[in-house]
C-alpha cells in the first residue's frame, strides 16, 4: 500500500516536471530561435549605392521578422569564382536560407542545386540563374524594365533614328532581359534602326570609350541605352564631352549622383530605376516565409520606375534617387 502510494506520488511529480519542461521547451523554441539567413550579393563595394540600399532593405526586414542576417559578397560583380566559394562557405554554416544575387547566369547553377538538395532554402535576388533551384526570385522584371526604357526612348525620338545598346557584361541575366525588353519595344517601329549591342566588359571607362566610338561613327539622330549605371554614366560623359546632348538621346538604368547630374543637365532623358530597398526587404521576407513552410510565389517583381527631369524631385522619387540621408 505504502509502496504503491510512493509510486503514485513520484509518478505525479515526474509527470508535472515533464509537462513543465515541455512547456518551457516549446515556448523557448518558438520564441528564442531566430532564423539564420545568409545574403550573398554581387559586390561589397560601398560606392555602389544599389547594393547598399538593398542591404538596408535586408536589415530592415531582418529587424521586422527577427532574423539573423549575414551579408557577404564578392569584391566585384565579375568575380564569379569568389561568389561560388562564398556560397559553399555559407552552406557549411547551414543557415535556414540563402539569398543570392548571382554574378553569372550559368556558373552558379551547380552550387545552387547543391544548396537546394541540402535543404537550405534558396532565394534569388536581383539576378537569376539558369535553373529553378530557387524557391523564389525577388527581382525587377527586367524585361518589363527594358520595355519601359524602350518606350521612353521611343518618346524621345522623332523621325528616323538609330539606337545603340551598351551592355555591361555578357552573361548577366538582368542585362539579357533588359536588352530583350528594349528590342521588343523598339523593334516594332520601322523608323528606328536597332544597332548591335556593345559589350564593355564591366568597366565604365570602356563604356565611355565605346560610346565615343559610336558617337563618331553615327552622325545622325541617335539613341543610346545604357543597360546599367556605369554604362549610362560612361555614355553620358562621352555625350557631354562631345556636346551632343541635343542630337543624342540617352536613356539609362539605375541611379547615382552622376546620373542625376546627367538628368538635370538634360544629357540623359530618362533613367529606369529599380527598387533595391524593396528587393532586399522582400527577399528576406520571402526567405522567412519559405523557411516557415508557407507558400511563396516563384517570382516577385519589385517593380521599376521611369525617372525624368520632371518627376525626379517628387516626394516618392526622392527617396529612391537619393537613398542615403546624412551621407
Amino acid at each position: 500500500m505504502i509502496v504503491w502510494k510512493h509510486k503514485w506520488l513520484s509518478g505525479a511529480v515526474a509527470l508535472l516536471l515533464v509537462v513543465g519542461c515541455l512547456v518551457y521547451w516549446i515556448n523557448g523554441f518558438s520564441e528564442k530561435k531566430a532564423l539564420e539567413v545568409t545574403v550573398i550579393i554581387k559586390t561589397t563595394d560601398d560606392s555602389v549605392e544599389f547594393w547598399q540600399v538593398l542591404i538596408d532593405g535586408v536589415h530592415e526586414a531582418a529587424k521586422e521578422f527577427d532574423a539573423n542576417v549575414q551579408v557577404w559578397g564578392s569584391k566585384t560583380e565579375t568575380d564569379v569564382d569568389e561568389q561560388i566559394s562564398l556560397v559553399e562557405k555559407a552552406m557549411r554554416n547551414r543557415p535556414d536560407a540563402i539569398v543570392l544575387a548571382a554574378n553569372d547566369f550559368d556558373r552558379l547553377v551547380p552550387i545552387s542545386e547543391k544548396a537546394r538538395k541540402s535543404g537550405i532554402k534558396l532565394i534569388i535576388v536581383d539576378s537569376g540563374i539558369n535553373s529553378d533551384a530557387a524557391k523564389s526570385i525577388v527581382a525587377t522584371d527586367n524585361v518589363k524594365a527594358g520595355r519601359e526604357a524602350g518606350q521612353a526612348m521611343h518618346q524621345e525620338l522623332t523621325g528616323n533614328a538609330k539606337v545603340a545598346i551598351i551592355s555591361y557584361v555578357k552573361n548577366a541575366a538582368s542585362h539579357i532581359d533588359r536588352e530583350k525588353g528594349v528590342r521588343e519595344v523598339l523593334g516594332q517601329y520601322p523608323n528606328i534602326e536597332l544597332l548591335d549591342t556593345y559589350y564593355v566588359e564591366g568597366s565604365e571607362q570602356n563604356a565611355y570609350l565605346k560610346a565615343k566610338e559610336i558617337l563618331r561613327k553615327h552622325t545622325d539622330v541617335l539613341g543610346i541605352i545604357g543597360l546599367n549605371e556605369p554604362t549610362t554614366v560612361g555614355a553620358g560623359r562621352a555625350i557631354q564631352e562631345l556636346e551632343l546632348k541635343e542630337r543624342v538621346k540617352l536613356i539609362g538604368f539605375d541611379s547615382s549622383v552622376n546620373e542625376i547630374k546627367l538628368l538635370e543637365e538634360g544629357v540623359m532623358k530618362a533613367t529606369v530605376i529599380q527598387r533595391p530597398f524593396q528587393m532586399g526587404y522582400l527577399s528576406i521576407k520571402t526567405a522567412m516565409e519559405a523557411v516557415k513552410g508557407k507558400k511563396v510565389s516563384k517570382f516577385l517583381d519589385t517593380g521599376s520606375l521611369v525617372i525624368t527631369k520632371q518627376n525626379m524631385y517628387d516626394e516618392e522619387n526622392q527617396k529612391l534617387l537619393f537613398p542615403f540621408v546624412g551621407k
Partner: protein
Amino acid sequence: MFSRLRSLQTNMVLASVFLILMTILIMSFTSYYLTKDAVQSQAQSYTTELVKQVNNNIKSYVNGMKYMSDLVAANHSVQDYLSATSFKSLQDEKDHKEAISDLLESMLFSRTDIASANVFGYGGQFVSGRKELELNPFIDRSTLSWYKNAQEAGGKNVISPSHVQPVFKDRYPWVVSLSRELFSRDGTRKLGVFLVDLNFSVMNDMFKDIRLGQRGYLFIIDSGGKIVYHPQQQLIYSHLKSEMIDKVLEIESGTFVSDEGSDSRMYTVQDSDFGWKIVGVSYVSELVGNQNEVRLSYVVLGLICIVIAIVISFFLSQRVSQPIKRLQDYMKEVEKGNFDIHVPVPKAIEIGRLARAFNIMVGKIKELMSQVVHDQEQKRKSEINALQAQINPHFLYNTLDSIVWMAESNKSKDVVLMTSALAKLFRSSISKGEELVSIRTEIEHITNYLMIQKMRYKNKLDYRIEIDDSVRDYRTIKVILQPIVENAIYHGIKMKHGPGLIRITSEETESDIYIVIEDDGKGMDEEKLSTLLLPSPNPKEGRGVGVRNVHERLQLYFGTQYGLTYKSALGEGTTVYIRIPKSHRPTEDEK
C-alpha cells in the same frame, strides 16, 4: 483513479491538489492580466514621454531656425540690399553682399546641424552663409516647394518636410527647410525668400536609434499628412506597408491601437506647435511578447507550487491516515479473535479518542466473552446436577425396597401400581432430551413421584394437585417440582408428627405463572430460610442442593427475576413459589 473506492489519503491529496491548482490558476490569470494592463500602460506612458522628448528636441532646432529667420527678415542691410535697384558701384554692391554674407555666416558659426542659410532676391540676388556654395545652374528654384510655399505664406515661416535640396551645385543633401518671404522695410514690397536648411541627418540620427521595443519605431508627418521621417519610408511609398495617417491626423495628441490582429500597433501621437506630428509606434504583440515570458514563468511557478503541494499534502495526509491504518490493523487482529491487544493511544486528539474507545470496546467484548463461557459452564453443571437429582439413588433404593416388601406381602396390585408409576416417572424425566417441557408433563412427572411416595408413606403423606388447565400448556424447564417436593417430604413432613399435606396449585398474572408448593411440615427458621437459596460453600452438602439447582437453572434460563421464593415459619410449614414467564407457549404442532 476516479473509482469511488479511494483511500482517505488519495482523497486528501486530490482535494488539496485541486484546491491549490485552482488558486494558482486564478491568481496567475488575475496577475497576468493585471501585469498585462500595467505593462501596456507603462509602455504607453514611456512612449508618450519619449515622443514628447523628441518633440522638444525638434522644437529646439526649429526655434533656432525661426530665430535666424526673424533676424534676417528684420535686418536692414538685407532689406536694403534686396530692395536696391542699382548700386553706386560694383564695389558697393559687393560690400552689401559681403555684409549679409557675414551676418549669415556668423549665425552659422559652429552650427554643423544647419546646412546653409541663404537669401534669394527676386532680382536674382543670391547670398549664402556658406560662401563655398554655388547655385545649380540646371535647377529652377521657383519650381521647388519650399520656394513656392514661402511665397504663398506671405511673410510667415514655412517648414518643409524632409527633402533633397537640389538648389546648390554638386550637392544633394537631405534637409528640412525653413523658408520665409522677405519684405521691404515698410512692408509693401516683396523682396525675396530666405532659406535655412537643417541637415536632416541630425534628426535622422536622433530618430534612428529610438527603438520602441524590438520592432517599434518613430515617424513624423507634417500637417498635410506627408511623411517627414519614417524608417520604412520606401516600403510605404511602394505600398508594402501602410500607416494609419488619416487617423493620426484626426487626433490632436494621444494614443490609439490599430486593429490588425496579431500585428496590431499602438500609435502614440504628439502634436508639435509647428505643424508636425510625432508618432511613436509599438507593436502590441511585442508587449504581449514580454508577457509570454511572464506567462511562462507563471506556468513554471505554478507547476513547482503544485509539486510542493502534492508532497506536502501527501505527508500531511499520511500523518492523518497512518494512525487510522494502524488502528485498522489492530481491528483485523480482533477480527481474527485476538482480544488480548491494547492499541497505543496516538497524540492526535480525535484518533486518540477513537483508540481509547476501541480499547474499552475490546475490553468489554473480552469480559462478555468470558461471562458467556462461564454461564455456559454453569448451565452444564446445573443440568448434570439436575440429572443427578432425578436419579436420586436413595430414592430408587427405597422405592425398590418398598416394591420388594410389597411383593413379599403378596400385594401384587400395589407392586404393579408402584412399578408402573416408577416407570412413568423415569420416562417423563428422561423425556426426549429437550430442555423445555410443558407444565402438563412436569405435573405428570410430579404426580407419579408423589404416587410412589404416597405408597411408601401411606397416611403420613397426603397430596393435592390443583393446576389450572389454562397454565398447563406453558413451558418450563424440566424437573423443577420434584426437588422441591422431595425437600418438602424429607425436611418438612417427615420431621413432623402426624400426617402432612403437600398441595400444588397455580397462579397466573399478566406475564408470569406461579406454581405454588405448600406443605404443612416442620417449616424453617429465618436463618435457614435466608441461606437456602444462596450458593452453598459446600455444594456436596445434601440438603438444599436440589432446590438451589432449580433456582439457579430458572434464573439462568429465564432471567434473574424468575426462580424460587420461599415462605416459611418454624412449625407452620413452607410455601414455595416458582415463577416462570408466560413467554414460552408451545406452537400448535408441538402440542
